[in-house]
């Protein structure tokens, strides 16, 4: 149903967001803003050991403190949960064993927060410390004690070893091969809103209601049903507007489950809001990943084979890890034609807060590695860094060697645009000393082809109800975390029905009231909810158009709707207001409403792990970074970022630019300063002051260019914008630093200390590099060989 842009009436305009008025007047009610009658407060006692057995917990003194209403431990919530079917390894409160400092151990309900905090001090937990596994090397070398009793061996969570094409043959064809090692430090989402949940048990209905700052109400619903042993229909999860997520609120969390359990216990509503420090422990942030990449190229720069190894430091739990590990290998082939590809990876358990999905989940790390290495390959071959990429870039309608199908592909246009805007030709190799410029390309999925747990059901559903006043209400399970999904929903429904965006009321993210949307992750919402919204709106339009056609005495095909009017395209004077048409339809057919849905249908490869990577569509982004480096202080100042993003179609250009600029900001934080680091078994920086992030002062100017490629699988041609544009920023800056100073910083973040160290090496005549020395020696199992079937290639 794609139609030419000139005909859109709502889409393509930079209309204000539908929820902006509330957000700019303090009216938006986030989870922590809610207060229910008789509500009390909960607090959670964290583990002080990275790894220990719990010998005894004595809560009797806490229970006796006046104002304390209830205390629960792991014994009260013995059932395990986790976001993925294969990572059901968490307890809401540690049972018998703690696995990281900050892990929830005991939860208390009290009349006020101070009393709850005081009660925590009265709890006596006796631990028997175990050897802590604090690094990747530890995890590979320390076989006992095991952090979990599952996984292939010792402290390894998951191992992947897979071959696409003829890898050895591919390397045989290469004229030049190089191997490099990179490390990408972990970092965290740091949403400004701390996680919060309000739970209310209704004993007479035997029903639980929870309002939570979550990106995934549907998965919270499932986890609660499992752990609380309640039937699904006895639980209602409402996602409150989320004050920033970036993947940090994608998992079901301990405090959500504890709030529910305590509410059941005491029969009163209860709120648990995490402190900022607790948010650092809840984490699920970017995995630290150590990477080794070997690439073979012909003399003229054509890639013949790649062998990529990644080692993920997963932290204490599985979380999204089984997906994260594959994401570190899945999308290399989407940007560049890699005809033969070997991917081997390990995800390890360590005694640190669990890692999970952060914006662009699992893909910025390998992107950093391969975009850095392409610059090196270009230099080795005396080729231009852009030329070597252009030689290998994929195009539209391409099938990758790991069975991913790309439709629209704006990587070439994005490259041209960003080079033009940045004046690359006049700058590369021509800037004064200390200044440099770097380029990188990246891609991201627009929703995962498969749901997290296997099922045949739609992944997003929208219901629309038409009121006889001429207004419509759209119901969707999708949750707006700031990315603008509410506005996307309203604008798509308005576009199809010929209404204004503000004519569409929204009810969202409430498992009692709204049909399913699986959640805000993997850049799936615009794609999937968008299609469901268009589907529902088209169905709703049918009876309205039918009634209008009859009244206007014209055939239904001639009708069009815009600006609240339904008219005859050939004779626009013959028209009817939407409201009148809706009333005629209601008189004729009864109440007007419809449901729509979407289920992606990408072909999925037939191999283990093939579920990660397939997507209805892929976005592409290119970035040019210009830096000014101070050789005295080691400081890297990013002077400007140019970024071109293939958005398919910009449903709301200003919103898209907002997502792109936000991604650039977060990418700059990752490349320059953000790190979730540990010292002596402890989190080095669980505060906002010490966890450095960019302020107004460090944020450079950003020039954003949107490239529209009209994705055939996208809703009105749209693709994602919220995650993909983060990834190229990191290698573009790293490449620019090399261009400026001739030093390789192969370890993210690029701090002044590392720059100075590399400069010192350079002065000494050593390789001018800071980065990992090598990778752990580990014998991967023989790769499983996978061939793309011939019919896929067509």
């Amino acid at each position: 149903m794609a139609k030419a842009k000139s005909e859109f009436s709502v889409i393509g305009k930079s209309l204000p967001r539908v929820d902006a008025g509330d957000k700019c007047t303090g009216r938006t009610k986030y989870a922590d803003d809610l207060r229910l009658p008789r509500m009390v407060y909960g607090k959670i006692l964290p583990s002080i050991h990275p790894h220990a057995l719990i010998k005894k917990i004595d809560v009797s003194r806490a229970e006796k403190l006046p104002g304390v209403l209830g205390v629960i431990t792991g014994r009260d919530l013995p059932i395990q949960f986790g976001i993925m079917p294969t990572s059901q390894d968490e307890h809401a409160l540690a049972l018998d064993r703690v696995r990281y400092v900050g892990e929830p151990v005991v939860a208390v309900a009290a009349l006020d927060e101070e009393t709850a905090e005081e009660a925590l001090l009265l709890i006596d937990v006796q631990y028997e410390p175990l050897k802590a596994v604090m690094s990747l090397e530890d995890a590979i070398n320390i076989k006992e004690p095991r952090i979990h009793d599952y996984g292939p061996e010792g402290n390894l969570h998951k191992i992947v070893s897979i071959d696409f094409g003829d890898v050895d043959g591919g390397f045989g064809e290469a004229d030049h091969i190089r191997e490099d090692v990179y490390f990408y430090q972990g970092n965290t989402h740091l949403p400004m809103e701390q996680h919060s949940a309000v739970a209310s048990w209704n004993p007479s209905e035997e029903k639980m209601t929870i309002w939570s700052a979550t990106q995934t109400p549907h998965y919270v619903h499932r986890a609660l049903a499992k752990v609380l042993e309640l039937p699904d229909h006895k639980i209602r999860v409402v996602a409150a507007p989320v004050g920033g997520g970036f993947g940090g609120k994608d998992d079901p969390f301990s405090h959500e489950i504890c709030a529910c359990k305590l509410s059941m216990l005491i029969g009163r509503p209860i709120k648990i809001t995490l402190t900022r420090e607790e948010v650092f422990y809840a984490h699920r942030g970017r995995h630290p990943v150590l990477m080794w990449v070997k690439t073979g190229v012909t003399k003229d720069g054509k890639i013949t084979a790649m062998h990529f190894k990644s080692f993920l430091d997963g932290g204490a739990y599985g979380s999204y890890g089984p997906a994260s590990i594959y994401y570190t290998g899945a999308l290399q082939t989407v940007t560049y034609k890699i005809p033969n590809y070997r991917f081997q990876a390990i995800r390890a358990f360590t005694n640190k807060p669990a890692c999970g999905p952060k914006r662009a989940h699992g893909t910025p790390q390998p992107r950093f590695a391969i975009e850095r290495q392409l610059d090196r390959l270009a230099e080795d071959l005396k080729l231009d860094p852009i030329a070597i990429r252009q030689k290998n870039m994929t195009g539209p309608n391409h099938v990758t060697v790991n069975w991913l199908k790309i439709n629209s592909n704006g990587s070439k246009e994005c490259t041209e645009e960003v080079l033009k805007a940045s004046g690359w030709k006049t700058k590369f190799g021509k800037l004064p000393k200390g200044k440099g410029i770097g380029f990188a390309l990246s891609t991201y999925i627009c929703g995962a082809g498969l749901p997290i747990y296997w099922n045949e059901l739609p992944q997003s559903e929208v219901q629309i109800q038409v009121d006889r006043s001429g207004l419509v209400t759209a119901f969707s399970g999708a949750i707006d975390i700031g990315q603008g999904s509410n506005t996307v929903l309203a604008s798509l429904v308005a576009e199809v029905l010929g209404l204004y965006q503000t004519d569409v009321s929204l009810v969202t993210a409430d498992t009692d009231l709204t049909p399913i949307d699986l959640g805000t992750y993997s850049s799936r919402v615009t794609m999937m909810m968008g299609h469901a919204a268009i589907d529902a709106a088209m169905k709703v339009r049918e009876p309205i158009f039918e009634a209008a056609a009859e009244e206007m005495d014209v055939s239904i095909e001639k009708l069009e709707a815009r600006d609240r009017v339904i008219f005859d395209k050939e004779n626009p004077e013959n028209k009817l207001s939407f409201k009148d048409a809706a009333q005629l339809a209601e008189a004729k057919f009864g109440p007007i409403g419809a449901v729509g849905s979407y289920k992606p249908a990408p072909k999925i490869g037939q191999y283990k792990g093939s579920g990660v990577g397939p997507s209805p569509a892929y976005s592409f982004s290119t970035c040019v970074a210009e830096v000014d480096c101070d050789a005295e202080t080691g400081e890297v100042k990013v002077e400007k970022i140019w970024i071109a993003h293939d958005i398919g179609r910009a449903l709301n250009p200003l919103s898209v630019i907002g997502q792109v600029e936000g991604s650039v900001y977060m990418g700059l934080g990752e490349v320059l300063m953000e790190e979730q680091d540990f010292r002596k078994n402890l989190h080095k920086i669980p505060s906002l002051l010490d966890y450095k992030s960019l302020t107004f002062k460090e944020m450079p100017p950003v020039e954003t260019i949107l490239v529209e490629t009209d994705e055939p699988n996208g809703p009105f041609g749209a693709k994602e914008a919220g995650q993909g544009p983060l990834s190229p920023v990191i290698p573009a800056v790293a490449n620019a630093v090399y261009n400026a100073l001739g030093i390789h910083i192969d370890e993210i973040p690029i701090t002044p200390e590392k720059v100075l160290k590399a400069l010192e090496e350079k002065k000494k005549g050593n390789p001018p590099r800071v980065g990992p020395k090598g990778i752990p020696s580990y014998n991967f199992p023989e790769p499983v060989k996978v061939e793309v079937p011939a019919e896929w290639k067509r």
Binding site: S14, P16, R17, D19, A20, G21, D22, C24, T25, G26, R27, T28, Y30, D32, D33, R35, I44, L45, P46, I48, P66, G67, V101, L111, D112, E114, T115, E117, E118, L120, M192, Q194, P241, G243, G244, G245, F246, T275, R276, E277, I481, G482, L654, S655, G658, E661, G662, S663, V664, Y665, M666, L682, S687, L688, L689, L694, T695, F696, M699, V702
Partner: protein, 178 residues
Amino acid sequence: MFYTGAVGTAKTKGGLLESQKTLITLQINGERYEVAVTVNKTLLEILREDLDLTGTKHGCEVGECGTCTVLINDQPILSCLTLGVEIQGQKITTIEGLEQNGKLHPIQQAFIELQAAQCGYCTPGMLLSSKALLDENKNPSQDEIKEALSGNLCRCTGYWKIIEAVELTASRLGASKE
């Protein structure tokens, strides 16, 4: 103690049942509020917990994020570091007081138009810091805007739309006076 979270910040006494309270009077958004508080209760807590003025947000409660910014005598302050007992009789403005008789302040209008609010969580603090700047400096340069807002963190926007909204407001306010 090596962590400052649930345990570290716990007060050894002063829970609801034992604490001594004082009756204080606050002038907020032109209205007078009487509220009984403990001496260590912050303005942030009073606004949100006692007065249901939940438009004021928090991201750290220890003075590191700017999310809890309100105005006292038109100057931005961090409400999480300000005790209620200290500010009796002073003029307090929160996000709820920025709009007058249902009419948005121009800075709110500009934030809406330019999509300077994404998740919206930093927005109340940003708006108040911006208003304070514009009250003092009718035509701030980009550097002055960055300086004035640098204590307010935002994880969503990349800051530029906020800067542009302040500039747009300055130009509109300037134009309307000419």
